[in-house]
């Protein structure tokens, strides 16, 4: 099997796995980063969401071969050291999580949204966040937390 090299949370990383193995399972099982979750395996729920070259991506349908040479950020790499990302801080301030299982993916989607639209409208949030399911139904708090994070980021 060939080795695939990519940058994971800022660190040069190499894995020796089957070419079609999804990034999700490489992260979780090969590399032991379990913050990224399995929910559906078919890009329907967003629990597996990561950033690929800064854009959100469903890691459950991203073969590792397509990741070679690229930059991957997971929930574990979102904070800068001990300083949480503004989206994570807003999530805490509003106490978004319930069971918490989908929240890594929600946070990655929200961070990608704010990187592109620093002050998103409700319609922007509907558009950007509708790929992420939450069975606990935390949508109203997610919306509020995204607005709060946007407010914090504004000068």
């Amino acid at each position: 099997m060939p080795a695939y090299r990519f940058t994971l949370n800022g660190t040069d990383t190499s894995v020796d796995v089957a070419a079609d193995m999804p990034l999700l399972w490489v992260l979780r099982e090969t590399l032991g980063l379990t913050g990224t979750k399995y929910g559906c395996g078919i890009a329907q729920c967003g629990s597996c969401m990561v950033h690929l070259d800064g854009k959100k991506a469903f890691s459950c349908i991203t073969p590792i071969a397509s990741v070679a040479g690229r930059r991957v950020t997971t929930i574990e790499g979102l904070a800068q050291g001990d300083e949480l990302h503004p989206v994570q801080r807003a999530w805490l301030a509003i106490d978004v999580p319930q069971c918490g299982y989908c929240q890594s993916g929600q946070i990655m989607a929200a961070a990608a949204l704010l990187a592109e639209h620093p002050t998103p409208s409700d319609a922007d949030i509907d558009e950007a966040m509708s790929g992420n399911l939450c069975r606990c139904g935390t949508y109203n708090r997610i919306r509020a937390a995204i607005h709060a994070a946007a407010g914090e980021a504004r000068p």
Binding site: D95, P97, D126, R135, N140
Partner: protein
Amino acid sequence: MTATVPGMKRREFLQLSGALGAGLLIACRATRTELPRASGDVNAWVHIGTDDQITIAVSESEMGQGTMTAFAMIVADELEADWQHVQAVHALANQAAYGNQSTGGSTSIRIGYDSIRAAGAAARELLVAAAAQTWQVSARDCVAERGTVTHAASGRTASYGSLADLASQLPLPRKPAFKDPATYRYIGTPIKRLDSHDKVTGRAVFGLDANVPGHLVAQVVRPPVLGGAVKSFDPAAAKAVPGVVDVLEIPHGIAIVAENFWAARQGRQALTAEWDPKEWGDLSSEHITGMLREIVGSGAVARDDGNAERAAAAAPTRIEAVYEAPYLAHATMEPMNCTAHVRPDGCDIWVGTQAQTSSVRVAAEITGLDPAQITLRTLYLGGGFGRRSQTDFVADAVLLSKATGKPVQVVYTREDDMHAGWYRPVAYNAFAAGLDADGWPVAWTHRIAGASIVEQFGRLENGIDDSSVEGAANLPYDIANVHVTYARPDLPVTTWWWRSVGSSQNAYVTECFLDELARAGKHDPFAYRQRLLRNQPRHLRVLETVAEKIGWGGAPAEGHALGIAVHACFGSWVANAVDVSLDDVPRVHRVVCAVDCGQAINPDTIAAQMDSGIMYGLSAALWGEITFANGQPTQSNFHNYRIVRMREAPRVETHIVNSGDAHGGIGEPGTPCIAPAVCNAILALTGNPVRKLPIRMG
């Protein structure tokens, strides 16, 4: 050292005290006997470390409902702890110490409140006694406050941690005095969850995140037809897939055991197997409906007030309707999974479960070990909603670890999870009512035909499954003649507790049929309920709250209508009023919710649980159904078992009606009202009742 409440033995805590180090350890235990269907006990251990850290080990499972934080709040309040030093963890499963552990029925606080408080109060009294002894003063002159004991006269202070060792050697107070509720710091106040930080940083460890060194990963291919069996299989092609370790037949199907998830998946795709469909190969949803229709008239009587048949016959207006509710999957975000390591002398299990005790029992049966040799660690649950009180996934993991001699993690794919059964029961409801000349109901007959959950435990009483008639047999409306019956079909579809259980269907069917009666009687649906609930003050209060807050009686926006519903279950009263318009699908713009759950512990959690129950119930109302064709469930994943997404999520505002009465549940009561409230708004918009879920327009 440990101190215990009466009835507990010291050795039972040694395992935990060893893990936490020196300090004071208090245990408490409440047995759930007074609540229906509550099969477990509720416990907590409180440990005060010499480092001032306070750890609450909770026997209940955290699946999003906020139990861990609520338990910690209750202990911390009576203990007068500093919240900054409080943490909560899942207790190890231990039947000897904890009794029967299971989380469900919205019972954790309802059962545990007094005993958890007692543990906190006892710990506080011990710490005060330790300080008094150290300072040679009277305990009455010492005050415990926020983690410190103070002797005001001398100005001496001591932290709880510095007193913990001495406190652990003092005799436990027999009847610790509770604080005056007016002095509560945490109970009744919005407090941030203790688990949020781990859940926003990816550090929270869920069942699927268990990483036992050297573990294998297994997927189980089940017979496609319910009740079917393996006829034959050829493991060669699957075994040839790199990373596949073994292919084994187990009771639930054929297991592919591999080095990782992806290899197991590739292996199952290569597997060739023949299946025996047995007797249900032609089962279909039409077939099921036909069976229910056939038996609905011959049910056992669950309630019989007056003579509904005679009263209806004499009434000037008669109304009949049939309402149907489908099978539903729980569809937790985290699919079912379990990791087990069976050894000759013991067994370790790592699992997100709502049922520690029955999981251990299942493992003991499979391994032949004594339950005391089995250690079960509860990891976070990626949703439960009742599904995780089953043990099918635990049995699979234990069987496969026993067979391979290695630690094995069994993972249900989403498709496996959705096809594994244990659905919310299907129900078929035949209604007949009579109205008097003024449009008020004088007769109400509700005949239910539906799959039974409790039958598998042998708990049918006089032909009645109490979970199938809850919310129907206890119809709260003031109607003189009420007749409710229940009939049960023989079907191969396994059924199980689904968030709010019988109320999930019965609130829908009764609240919608009541709106039909109001309409036929030419009454406003809110005013109709108000009058019929005039002797039900707790129903009335939540109902009137939502009507007022949504502006009932005002003119809705063009193309919009309001709907309303009220329901009591699990010790709490909930009403929803909704603002709905119709595109291709119903658009729910706004939900106003009122809840009376007695004394509120954490208002922020209560609001979150109402949000949650509403989204859960709305998903079911709009799209939820498991249907069958050729003996197989039709739905498989979130593309055809849809749940509400951000763009479809209504704004929800929750009003907590703090009645101060006994604690009610909050995990389940938020679910039932949304479906009938939305359907009643659709009735107002279109004039057509929605008599079958999920809602289909046109």
